[in-house]
C-alpha cells in the first residue's frame, strides 16, 4: 500500500526508471521514501524556470494588490495586509511548480498550460479564505489567473531542459501541441467570458 502510494508520488517523467531501479534493488520503505523525495525535487528544479516564476509571482501579487486597492483599500493600510495579500499568490505558485513537475511529457495537450492555472486558482482560493475578504480573494484570484495565462502560454513548461550543446532543440521539446483553429476560438471565447465576468463583478461590487 505504502509502496503503491510512493510510486504514484514519483513524477511521471521519471517514474519508469526510478520504479525499475527501486524494484531491482529491492529497496525498503525508507529508501523508497528518500528516493521519491529526491526525484520530486529534481523534477521541480528541472521544470521550473526562476525567471518565469518571478514574472508569475509579480503578476499575481500585483493582481491582488490592485483588487484590494479597488475593493478594500483599508486592507493595504492594515499592518499585516500586504503580507496577507501574498498568501494566495504563494499557494498558486507552489501549485504551478508542482503541476509542471507532474505533467507527463509523453502526453501532448493544447490546454496543458491552463491546467496548472486552474488548479493554482483553486488552491489560492482555498488557502486564502481565512486571510482575505472573500471579494478580494475571488477577484484577485480571477484577475491573477488572467494575468499569468499569457505568461504561461508564452513560456510553457519545458519537458527537458535544452542541452547547452544543442540549444536550438529547445523549441522542439516544448510540451505544447500545435494549436488548432477550434482550440484558438475556444480559448479566446473563454478568456473573453472570464474578463467580462471579472469586469462585471468589479463594477457591481463598487
Amino acid at each position: 500500500m505504502i509502496q503503491r502510494t510512493l510510486a504514484l508520488l514519483i513524477p511521471p517523467a521519471c517514474r519508469e526508471e526510478v520504479l525499475g531501479d527501486l524494484h531491482q534493488r529491492s529497496a525498503g520503505v525508507a529508501e523508497r521514501l528518500h528516493t521519491t523525495l529526491y526525484a520530486i525535487l529534481s523534477r521541480v528544479r528541472r521544470t521550473s524556470d526562476p525567471v518565469v516564476l518571478l514574472m508569475e509571482g509579480l503578476a499575481l501579487y500585483t493582481a491582488f494588490v490592485v483588487v484590494a486597492l479597488w475593493i478594500d483599500p483599508a486592507l493595504l493600510s492594515d499592518a499585516s495586509g500586504m503580507a496577507r495579500l501574498a498568501i494566495p499568490p504563494a499557494a498558486m505558485l507552489i501549485i504551478l511548480m508542482l503541476a509542471d513537475a507532474y505533467s507527463d511529457p509523453k502526453k501532448r495537450w493544447v490546454y496543458k498550460p491552463l491546467l496548472g492555472v486552474v488548479l493554482g486558482s483553486a488552491a489560492a482560493a482555498a488557502v486564502g479564505s481565512t486571510a482575505l475578504p472573500r471579494s478580494v480573494l475571488l477577484l484577485g484570484t480571477a484577475f491573477g489567473a488572467l494575468l499569468i495565462l499569457p505568461i504561461r502560454t508564452a513560456f510553457p513548461p519545458v519537458t527537458e531542459r535544452p542541452q547547452s550543446i544543442t540549444g536550438a532543440a529547445l523549441w522542439h521539446k516544448l510540451e505544447l501541441a500545435p494549436v488548432g483553429v477550434f482550440a484558438k476560438y475556444v480559448t479566446a471565447a473563454a478568456i473573453f467570458a472570464l474578463l467580462t465576468l471579472v469586469m462585471y463583478a468589479i463594477l457591481s461590487l463598487r
Binding site: C14, E16, E17, V18, L19, G20, D21, L22, H23, Q24, R25, A27, E31, H34, T35, T36, L37, Y38, A39, L41, S42, R43, R45, R46, E160, R161, Q163, S164, I165, T166
Partner: protein, 114 residues
Amino acid sequence: MQFEQLVLTAILGLRDDAYGVSIHDRVQGLAKPKKVSLGAVYVTLDRLEDKGMVSSWLTDPTPERGGRAKRCYRLEALGERALQESAVTAKRVWEAIEEALGNRRPKWNPVRPK
C-alpha cells in the same frame, strides 16, 4: 563539482551499462566510506544532463526490474572534457602537495583521515 566528477567517472567506466543502479553502485565504491543515496545520484544525473555533459535514453522493460525500463546514460564530449580537466587539476594539486611536503613525500595512496 566533486560529486559530479564521481558520477561522470562512473558513467565513463560503465560504458553501455550505465543506468541508475549500476551508476549508484560504482559511485558508492568511489566515494567510500561516505554513503551515497540513490536519490542524490538521480539529482546529479539530471543536472549533468541539463548541462549537456551526459545524454540518456530508455531501454526496453525487463522482468528483473518488475517490467520497467532502464534509463541508460552516455558521456557526451562536454562531459569527457570536464572530466579530463578535473583530472588534470587533481594531478596539479597532488604535485603541489608533493612539492610542499618535500622529503616527507607521501605514497600515492591517500587515506581519508579519521
